[in-house]
């Protein structure tokens, strides 16, 4: 397309505001965080070293660069606390993602198989909780899971247990919270893919002698895989850095990176170490982000 000068100027003006804003408030802060993650903590304001001496010229730059080091990352690698937090984050996020797939796929399938005219309403029902406060949704589980909470009350009444179960502040509570809070993020992309599948594919499989179970495993599920991958990405990525759920539902031994970062920053005031943890979280989600982007791009290219 042949575009003339005023049009090109206009295009530039359109992208300039978001570009400047995001460069200043997203890119620059991330670069600063990277830099601080390579610094040493200090009892000062701001509490880290080195500070770049702007007036120092080339000399100032080189002393600045020489003072940067990987000590914080070595600490992360050596200290069992951080190692456990890393593995904890991966285990919780990975486990919850698997659980979400196991629960979300059947739910999405049921949604896609519901009468077409009722589907918009049912989708809305899945989405509405997402619009209510995340904090409140997690908080709601405290009243259910705690020692004298509703779940134990019901189980005791039914005679299924003799003594109240300790669920709150355990791994199980964190898992329940993660699955609950992120369920729509798994269901919706899977539903979107399943809903677009040509119903004739399922019919063809049934026509060729496959019972409902074989139809699901051999046709519906493989074809819904892009949706499952997208859903897994949408759940896994934020869960790795999750703070609220492990903090409210987990116990003191529930170690996840988001929570460790929080306490390093707010309690220990070790900003460089907190920055290193942040960078670590970023590195973990980078792979899934690329996977998710490719998956979504593939979606978009379909006619």
């Amino acid at each position: 397309m042949n575009r003339d000068a005023p049009q090109r100027l206009f295009a530039r003006l359109v992208r300039l505001p978001p570009f400047l804003w995001l460069a200043a408030f997203f890119l620059l802060p991330v670069v600063i965080t990277l830099k601080i993650s390579l610094s040493e903590p200090a009892t000062a304001i701001p509490p880290y070293l080195p500070l770049l001496d702007w007036q120092g010229g080339l000399e100032g730059w080189s002393t600045f660069l020489e003072a940067l080091n990987l000590d914080n990352y070595l600490t992360l690698a050596r200290d069992p606390l951080y190692r456990d937090a890393l593995f904890g984050s991966l285990a919780y996020a990975g486990g919850a993602t698997a659980l979400l797939a196991a629960l979300g796929v059947p739910l999405a399938y049921a949604l896609a198989r519901a009468p077409a005219r009722r589907q918009p309403f049912l989708v809305a029902l899945i989405v509405v909780p997402f619009w209510t406060s995340f904090l409140i949704r997690v908080y709601a589980w405290i009243a259910i899971l705690k020692q004298e909470g509703l779940l134990n009350l019901v189980l005791l009444k039914l005679g299924l247990i003799a003594r109240p179960l300790a669920i709150l502040n355990t791994d199980a509570a964190v898992m329940i919270g993660l699955v609950y809070a992120y369920l729509p993020f798994m269901v919706l992309p899977v539903y979107a893919v399943m809903n677009r599948l040509d119903p004739a594919l399922r019919e063809a499989a049934a026509d060729l002698g496959a019972g409902p179970t074989r139809v699901f495993w051999s046709v519906t599920l493989p074809l819904a895989l892009p949706g499952i991958v997208a859903g897994a990405g949408l759940c896994f990525i934020p869960m790795v850095g999750e703070f609220i759920i492990p903090d409210l539902l987990g116990g003191s031994e529930t170690l996840m990176l988001g929570r460790v970062l929080w306490s390093e920053f707010f309690s220990n005031r070790d900003w460089p170490l907190a920055s290193a943890v942040a960078v670590l979280i970023l590195l973990i989600v980078l792979g899934p982000v690329v996977l998710l982007r490719d998956g979504l791009r593939g979606e978009g290219e379909r006619p």
Binding site: A200, A204, D207, A210
Partner: protein, 352 residues
Amino acid sequence: MAAETRLRLEALTKRFGAHAAVDAVDLALEPGEFFCLLGPSGCGKSTLLRMIAGFEAPTSGRVVLGEADITGLPPHRRPVNMMFQSYALFPHMSVAANVGYGLKGLGRGAAAARVAELLRLVRLDGFDARRPDTLSGGQRQRVALARALAREPRLLLLDEPLGALDRGLREETQGELRAVQRRLGTSFVVVTHDPEEAMMLADRIGVMDRGRLVQVGAPADLYRRPASRFVAGLLGDVNLIPGRLGPAEADGTRVVATAHGPVRAAGPADPLAEGAEVVVAVRPESLALGAEGLPVTVADATFLGDRVRRLLRLPDGTPLRASGPPGEGGAQPVGAETRAGFAPDAAVILPA
């Protein structure tokens, strides 16, 4: 194939709310027959096909295959297979896996041999490992056919089998479809909205209109002896000349008094009383210009190579279409006044 492959539909009905998509259809299919359900979209032909396949449960009536009532059987238990309009090839499976999908009960070796045999039948040997999205439209259609034939169905249902193909490919494919059907002797039921496709493929055609099966017969019979204006118009171009029915003649023809003079045509299938309002249906190629017939003016003539198409007008302006070999009526330029006649057995009298 034995007589047991006969399909019988008994008062088959499907209602969606108050609307009857399929309304009390009775039909018996001969073994090894190539049958075509023809009708405009929304006439219920696809619903009928889906009830035979088991995808829709009939509101009432029965589907009987051989001696067995299969009305309540789910699709995966029916000895009937379907070729879908979109082909519905599994995009995540190879051609061989698609064709072999229905052969689960067979051993691995036997299934592989059967797949190879089917791919040979549809002339796709060597395409085993290809994915459906790397195939052309015609190749996909053949994979769908092979897949639907894999389980040796006693009845094969085809939903608009040529609909997704472009024109050149359609003629070639319809020939192939007929050849495969003759070789296997399986009964085929095709659904289509395209009369040309129906006439190219079928031994018999059943015409559907608003849920009802209105006429069943061989393509030539339906074309020449339509039982209604709807069937006459569906199967091709037709001139409908209104008039009043005269008495029955000894040779079985009847005279119809039109506004422009009497014409003689084959009698109506339904007995109609003398004096009834009727139309005479004449195909354009049966209309000949000459000394006999109704007075017309040549309003337009289009040369089409193998024939000439003329637009004629009766004295009151009613248009008639005629088509014939270029030589015939060559002396009739636009504006000429002449007469248009037809042989009595080339026209039918239909209720108005």
